[in-house]
Amino acid sequence: MALQGRELTVGQVHSAQVVQDLKRTQIVQYAGASGDYNPIHTDEPYARDIAGYPTVFAHGMLTMGMTGAMLTDYVGDGRLTKFGVRFTSQVWPGDDLEASATFEGLEESADGTLANFAVETVNQAGAVVLKGYAQARVD
């Protein structure tokens, strides 16, 4: 179900918990599916001894992928026209992440009505781990 543009109110927030207690196994799953085998994400001795981090950390693209699931659940499948983010903090095993989209307004285009959203994903401590925008075709 796609969104009805006229029913959206500026400032309206949609949010979803996209992961609870992120497991190292999920990071491994993402490495395998995406093809990004950088050992900094899955290889504890490398991450600690060589890269100098306390442990492995998630691919930024895993956080973006989980945030994307919040968006497609909200705006509908095949409706996104833009989705862009900055990775502002690392995501670690054990993190809980909450992703949100805040409606900013509508614009008209040749493809129909487009809705603009500010996108943000925060961890259990309230730190912003991802910040960006999305745009979707609405009815």
Partner: protein
Amino acid sequence: MAVDNFPVEAGHILMFARAVGDDNPIYRDAEYASGTEVGGVVAPPTFMQASAQFDPDYFLRPKPGKPWFGSGRDSTGITAGDPAGSTPSEGGDNKAVLHAEQHFEYHRHPRAGDVLTATTLPGKRWEKEGKRSGKLTFTESITQYHNQDGELMVTAKGVGVVTERPVDQ
């Protein structure tokens, strides 16, 4: 990165959706997907990143008979000073390339069965002083994904950053 043949496969979409924790049936159930507005199994929004699987030279995948910088007997498989063993980061040191930004523009959403090509152009390069990790060197790249009919499907812009030292926690 140049990928001449990126087949968008239903099984790959299923695995990718599982990895990001997305249980939407449109990624795994062709019958369900055929009844939706999209009309078929569609790629999740960040799926283009998985084109790395089809880049024969992708530097973050171990390759048979080639040195690999992940741990084995030692914490890294690379011997310091080994010219064949430079890490993927520029300069052959241990500074990892971190992902700073990613942007997608969807002209059309690729579906299972599409066969894409990916063409990457280098973008800007700039430096910045970071509070938590010393000097930051950013590098941008722009990738265009076309389908089997030559139609532009997705434009992706990625920004990588090399930090002077690990990011302070």
